[in-house]
């Protein structure tokens, strides 16, 4: 079972230090694992960063790699989760010629039906933003591509887990040592 390749979301809670990204990515590189997406941000705890990394690997690999992350001095805790165990989303932006908004009325329908938000409009271009699952974003990109996209960008996955993480408790436990 744990030899099947699946999508895993790896969450790593770390200190906010220079060079840690290098340490984290080296662990993937050394094992020849391709990173599908990587996002780092502030976590729910001040001063603690969270990496959210998506990889397609076996569960056996996921277990071992999480062990390698936790071994790093500045990693507080690492986890791996399947898609079913997380709530996740990606976000994307499109830059499109403003003229098209008037020349191609379908664009307005696409925007409306897909719940896409218009971030800004000016004489030259307008900018759309949408969050959602990969397939929703992809379908929107395909729909808009017919009319011409000046720029497209999609973020990495961000995810929260259905389970509790208990990082705060761990940090409190350290402080009470």
């Amino acid at each position: 079972m744990d030899q099947d390749i699946k999508t895993f979301t790896i969450s790593i809670y770390t200190e906010n230090n220079i060079g840690l990204l290098n340490r984290v990515s080296a662990i993937f590189q050394r094992r020849h694992i391709n990173i599908e997406s990587l996002t780092t941000s502030q976590s729910e705890i001040d001063g603690v960063n969270r990496f959210v990394i998506v990889v397609n690997i076996t569960e056996a690999q996921a277990k071992k790699i999480v062990g390698q992350f936790e071994k790093q001095v500045e990693v507080i805790k690492a986890y791996y989760h399947t898609d079913e165990q997380t709530i996740f989303t990606e976000s994307c932006m499109f830059k499109i010629k403003s003229a098209l908004l008037f020349e191609e009325p379908q664009i307005q329908n696409i925007i409306k039906e897909s719940n896409t938000r218009i971030v800004t409009v000016n004489k030259e271009f307008f900018v759309l933003e949408k969050s959602g699952r990969r397939n929703e974003i992809e379908s929107l990109r395909r729909d808009l591509n017919v009319f011409g996209i000046m720029q497209f960008v999609r973020s990495g996955r961000i995810a929260v887990t259905k389970d509790e993480m208990k990082i705060s408790e761990m940090l409190v436990a350290f402080n009470n040592q």
Binding site: T14, E15, I18, G19, N22, R23, A26, R30, G47, K63, K64, G67, Q68, E70, K71, V73, E74, V75, I76, L171, F174, N175, Q177
Partner: protein, 577 residues
């Protein structure tokens, strides 16, 4: 008493003094109990060397002849003493030359702190003279590393460096310090680091796992212990001995575990692995419970994993949770410090003796003795063997020497035949297999333990990889005994070429210089032995010498090391010839 800062805990310190960053570095080292450091000066580390000059009566700097030598010397210092070894180098090439030693320390869990100078912070990223991204380069081979660009960060970062290097599963730490941070001033006070919130050096042992381990061990009919360096690093030698003696379980060791239990102990059944002993390798695939203590199932130990101890339940004691199930799936994992785990295990174990099972080891030993050992140790052929040299060193030192071996055939022979009586006596490059390790590591070992006899066993290939460190021996008057076993070949590679590449000896033959003339060039006592009748006398003279001594023994050119598990084969397919 401890105080808490944001992420770390520290001991409370005295009041501050205003000093330069470079002086702070030296004061930090002194506060950590550093008495010797190994290094090489250069532009970006000169302010620190200036302070080393001022503090020369308090801290002894050893000028090695190459930064790689400094890193290995720090390793030798750490391995024999259990203390943190320190190496220091300048930026750029000085720093990159440390890398091999750092990688070696990482894979062999050796506590060292390396301090490198760096170009001034305003030059970082500008391709300045001797600038290199040593933090980036060393990241995959350090337990932790950090670049200091502000003088005031020096005390807390160095405190953290020593704490991380020595605690938990030890390892190398590199601290890169820009030149402006060395020149700048700070209000200095030193507080030892006692905790980091993101780092759990010794994970808590689960008492239920200890119970489960005890139950498996008590019910085993054919248990086998395989211990590794975790026993030595965890100072668990006595606990291991007590467990072995109470339960009567045969115990084998990995190359880095050697010397934790005396070689002559009746339950010590020898070395596992590619060139280990016949019995423990063969019987790995017959035991019913394999008790792994502080070892990591390296591929040189396991051979083909798919046929490794498949019949056995596996109990794995380790301080590092990431080692559990990494290579071999365990049935019971006991995470924690080996000393604590074994101490908790001992009272739960039943007294036992496994006489019939132990006899199987003796029977296989007998086969190995007849096929291999007696020819290695008491050869009847004309040429000298490496084994008889080790045997003679055992005789002259009564097994009290620390043996520092390099990498290759001589290393396997040294580890197989050295009679260890004292822990921390086998200093060798295990995981990385670094040729050139032994000569500088022996210097570090001798300086850390001047009362011990330190004998370096080196091949003619490895000797020439760091031969320049003879200069360090000479300058430091380090009474290291250097034995070069010269077969005029890169012997281990040649052995593989013979066995697996139809004797195509591609670039393994060595045309060697006159090693005696070289040693004498460094004013060392030196002797060459080419005949059996000269050997005993020469080794006696070497061991009796109060000073450094160089002994070249010209051994048989094309001897092979057996037993051998060909790579990719099963441990039970170990070959005796």
């Amino acid at each position: 008493m401890n105080t808490q800062t944001a992420n770390n805990t520290h001991e409370v310190a005295q009041e501050t003094i205003r000093i330069t960053g470079s002086e702070a570095i030296i004061r930090c080292l002194l506060a950590e109990g550093v008495d010797i450091l190994y290094g090489y000066p250069g532009g970006a580390i000169m302010p620190v060397y200036d302070e080393l000059y001022k503090f020369r009566n308090e801290i002894h700097h050893v000028l090695t002849r190459h930064e790689q030598g400094a890193a290995h010397a720090a390793q030798g210092y750490a391995r024999i003493s259990g203390r943190v070894g320190v190496a220091i180098a300048t930026s750029g090439p000085g720093a990159t030359n440390l890398i091999t030693g750092i990688a070696d320390a990482q894979i062999d869990s050796t506590p060292i702190v390396c301090i490198t100078g760096q170009v001034a912070s305003h030059l970082l990223g500008s391709d300045a003279f001797q600038e290199t991204d040593i933090v980036g380069i060393s990241t995959p081979v350090t337990k932790w590393n950090h670049q200091i660009t502000k003088s005031e960060d020096i005390p807390s970062i160095i405190a953290k460096a020593f704490y991380i290097a020595r605690s938990g599963r030890p390892g190398p730490v590199l601290i890169d310090i820009t030149k402006d941070a060395q020149f700048g001033e700070l209000d200095f006070k030193y507080e030892k680091c006692t905790g980091i919130r993101s780092y759990i050096p010794i994970p808590k042992t689960n008492p239920e796992a200890v119970l489960a381990a005890a139950e498996l061990i008590n019910n085993a009919k054919k248990p086998l212990i395989v211990w590794g360096q975790g026993v030595i690093l965890g100072k668990a030698e006595n606990e291991l001995k007590a467990i072995v003696e109470k339960t009567g379980i045969p115990a084998a060791w990995t190359i880095l575990g050697a010397s934790a239990l005396p070689t002559s102990h009746p339950l010590n059944v020898g070395m596992v692995g590619m060139h280990g002993n016949y019995a423990p390798n063969k019987l790995t695939n017959e035991c019913d419970v394999l008790i792994a203590i502080g070892m990591r199932f390296d591929d040189r130990v396991t051979g083909n994993l798919s046929t490794y101890a498949k019949q056995a339940k596996i109990v794995h004691f380790d301080i590092d949770p990431s080692e559990i199930d990494k290579n071999v799936k365990t049935d019971v994992a006991v995470i924690g410090n080996s000393k604590d785990s074994l101490a908790k295990l001992l009272p739960l174990l039943n007294e036992n003796n496994h006489a019939a099972w132990l006899q199987e080891f003796h029977d296989l030993y007998h086969i190995e003795f007849e096929k291999v050992i007696k020819h290695d140790l008491s050869p009847t052929k004309e040429g000298l063997t490496m084994g008889e040299v080790i045997k003679q060193i055992n005789t002259e030192t009564n097994g009290h020497a620390a043996i520092v071996s390099d990498v290759g055939q001589h290393q396997m022979i040294a580890c197989r035949y050295a009679q260890f009586t004292t822990t921390k006596s086998n200093i060798t490059s295990g995981g990385l297999g670094t040729m050139g390790f032994a000569l500088p590591a022996a210097i570090g070992a001798k300086m850390a333990a001047p009362d011990r006899e330190v004998v370096a066993i080196i091949g003619d290939g490895g000797f020439q990889m760091n031969i320049q460190e003879l200069g360090t021996i000479f300058q430091q008057k380090a009474a290291v005994k250097v034995v070069v076993l010269n077969n005029e070949f890169l012997g281990m590679v040649r052995q593989w070429q013979q066995l697996f590449f139809d004797k195509r000896y591609a670039s393994t033959e060595m045309t060697n210089p006159d090693f005696i003339a070289i040693a004498k060039g460094y004013y060392m006592n030196a002797k060459r032995v080419t005949k059996r009748e000269e050997l005993a006398g020469a080794i006696k003279e070497m061991i009796a010498s109060k000073e450094a001594y160089f002994l070249e023994v010209c051994v048989e050119k094309e001897d092979n090391v057996f037993p051998m598990i060909p790579s990719g084969a099963s441990v039970s397919d170990i070959r005796l010839e």
